[in-house]
C-alpha cells in the first residue's frame, strides 16, 4: 500500500478515536471517572508510518487533544511526538517477538505524560487549574487499566483497516 494511503487511514482512525474518547469521557465523568490515554495512538503510527508522516499525524492528533482537554496548546502534540521518536528508534533496534513490550512502553509513556501534567498543574495552579493528588492517582489507575485493555485492540483495528484497504487495492489491480 502507498504510504500516503496508510497516513490518511491512520489519521482518520486517530481522529475518530479521539472524538469517541471525548464522548465516552463526557458520559462517564458524572461518576467521577476521567480517562486520559493519548499514548494509545503511538503504536500503530510507529509500526505503519515513517518518521515524517508519523510525526505529522501524531502532532495533529495531539493538537486536537489539547483543544478537547483544555491543556496548553502543544502539550500533547510535543509530548506525543517526543515519545513517538523514541518508540520509532526503540522498535527498530529491539526484538519484536515480545508482545508485552509495546503495551509496557505505551502505558509508561502515558503515565509519564499524566505525571508531568500533574506536576505542571501543581506548580502553576493559577494558570492550569489545581488538581488533588487523590483524584490524579485514581484517574491514572483507571486510565492505565483502560490502556492495557484496549491498546492491543486499537492496534488490531489499525491492522484490519490497513489490510482491508490493501486487499481492495489488489482486487482492483487484478
Amino acid at each position: 500500500m502507498k504510504p500516503n494511503q496508510s497516513f490518511l487511514i491512520l489519521l482518520l482512525l486517530g481522529f475518530t478515536f479521539t472524538i469517541l474518547l471525548a464522548l465516552l469521557n463526557s458520559a462517564i465523568t458524572r461518576i467521577g471517572i476521567f480517562i486520559y490515554i493519548p499514548s494509545i495512538l503511538l503504536f500503530p503510527m510507529v509500526v505503519h508510518l515513517d518518521r515524517l508522516r508519523g510525526s505529522f499525524v501524531i502532532f495533529s492528533l495531539g493538537i486536537i487533544m489539547d483543544t478537547q482537554l483544555k491543556m496548553p496548546l502543544g502539550f500533547n502534540s510535543f509530548s506525543l511526538m517526543f515519545f513517538f521518536l523514541i518508540a520509532k528508534d526503540w522498535f527498530h533496534s529491539n526484538e519484536k517477538d515480545n508482545a508485552s513490550r509495546p503495551t509496557f512502553f505505551v502505558v509508561s509513556a502515558n503515565a509519564a505524560m499524566f505525571t508531568i501534567w500533574f506536576i505542571i498543574c501543581s506548580i502553576k495552579p493559577q494558570y492550569f487549574g489545581s488538581w488533588e493528588l487523590k483524584t490524579f492517582l485514581w484517574n491514572l489507575l483507571i486510565s492505565s487499566l483502560c490502556l492495557i485493555l484496549i491498546s492491543k485492540w486499537f492496534f488490531d483495528i489499525s491492522l484490519i483497516l490497513l489490510s482491508s484497504k490493501r486487499s481492495m487495492g489488489e482486487k482492483m489491480k487484478a
Binding site: 510535543f78 488533588e132 484517574n139
Partner: protein
C-alpha cells in the same frame, strides 16, 4: 525538553487563534452527537413496555392535578404580579430621581449541553447556542438547582461554559440572610462524583453546623448573576491561616455534572 522550549516561543496570539479555530471545527461534531443522542432517546421510547406507559400516565396525571391546583390560584397571582409591577415602576422612578445605576435585567436562554469536559484540572461543557443568540463571554449560566457557571468562550453557534466547580471560577457571594460579601471558589469534583467548592473571607461571627447548614447564594455585586440564586450548602466553617476570617467547604448540587439542559442569563443590554 527542546519541544517544550519551542512550544514556549510560539506567540500566544497564534495559540489563541489555533485553539479558537479548533473549537469552531469541533463544535458541529459535538452538536451532531448530542442531536443523535436526543433522537435515540426519542425513538427509544417507542419500544416502552405497557408497565412503563402506565407509570408515565400516572406521573402525567399527578402533574396535571398539580397544574389544576396552581391554575386555581391564578387570579390571586395576577393581582400579586400587578402589585409587583407597580412597585418596580416606582423603584425605577426613584432610581432615576436619585441618579442611581440601573438594576441589570436578564433574559433566559435555554440550551442543550453537547459535550462535557470534566477533567481533574478543568470542569466545563459546551452548549448549542452562541453569538447568533447574542451570547457573550462572562454571562451567567444557571439550572433548577442554582448556579452552573459562566460562559468562557462563545463561538458562532456554540459556547463553552466554565463550571462553578472549576478551580479558576471565583465569584462574590453571601450567605442567605446575611448581606456581607464572601468569596466562593470552585474546588473540583470528588472521586465519587460530588461537586465541591470553597468559601473564603467569611466573618468570624457566622457559624455553620451539621444541624443548621448555611445556604450560600449569589449577589448582584459581581454583575453576572442576580441576587439570591443558590450556590451550595456549608456545614462547617474554620478559622483562616491569618485568623481574621473563616473558610469552609461548600457542597454543591449533585445534579451539576449530570445536567442535560441549562439556562443562560443574557443581559438585556447585550442585545442590538
Amino acid at each position: 525538553m527542546l519541544f517544550f522550549i519551542l512550544c514556549g516561543f510560539i506567540p500566544s496570539a497564534w495559540k489563541v487563534v489555533i485553539q479558537s479555530s479548533f473549537n469552531e471545527f469541533h463544535a458541529p461534531l459535538w452538536e451532531a452527537s448530542s442531536r443523535i443522542a436526543d433522537l435515540t432517546d426519542y425513538w427509544g421510547h417507542f419500544s416502552d413496555s405497557k408497565k412503563t406507559l402506565i407509570e408515565k400516565g400516572r406521573d402525567f396525571q399527578r402533574i396535571s392535578h398539580d397544574q389544576y391546583l396552581q391554575s386555581s390560584t391564578l387570579e390571586s397571582q395576577n393581582k400579586e404580579l400587578h402589585r409587583l409591577k407597580m412597585v418596580q415602576s416606582e423603584l425605577v422612578v426613584l432610581q432615576e430621581s436619585l441618579g442611581l445605576e440601573k438594576i441589570k435585567s436578564f433574559s433566559p436562554i435555554i440550551s442543550r449541553i453537547t459535550i462535557r469536559s470534566i477533567t481533574g484540572w478543568w470542569q466545563g461543557f459546551e452548549i448549542r447556542k452562541g453569538r447568533s443568540n447574542y451570547l457573550k463571554d462572562g454571562m451567567g449560566v444557571i439550572f433548577g438547582g442554582g448556579v452552573v457557571g459562566k460562559l468562557n468562550w462563545v463561538g458562532s453557534n456554540s459556547s463553552e461554559v466554565k463550571m462553578i466547580t472549576n478551580p479558576s471560577f471565583r465569584i462574590v457571594a453571601n450567605f442567605s440572610g446575611d448581606e456581607r460579601p464572601v468569596t466562593f471558589q470552585g474546588n473540583g469534583i470528588a472521586i465519587d462524583g460530588s461537586p465541591q467548592g470553597i468559601v473564603f473571607d467569611v466573618p468570624q461571627d457566622i457559624v455553620a453546623s451539621e444541624k443548621e447548614p448555611l445556604l450560600l447564594v449569589t449577589t448582584s455585586l459581581g454583575g453576572t448573576f442576580p441576587d439570591g440564586l443558590p450556590i451550595g450548602r456549608v456545614f462547617n466553617l474554620e478559622g483562616d491561616k491569618n485568623g481574621l476570617f473563616k473558610s469552609g467547604q461548600v457542597f454543591l448540587d449533585r445534579k451539576l455534572n449530570r445536567l442535560k439542559e441549562v439556562t443562560i442569563l443574557r443581559m438585556d443590554d447585550s442585545m442590538p
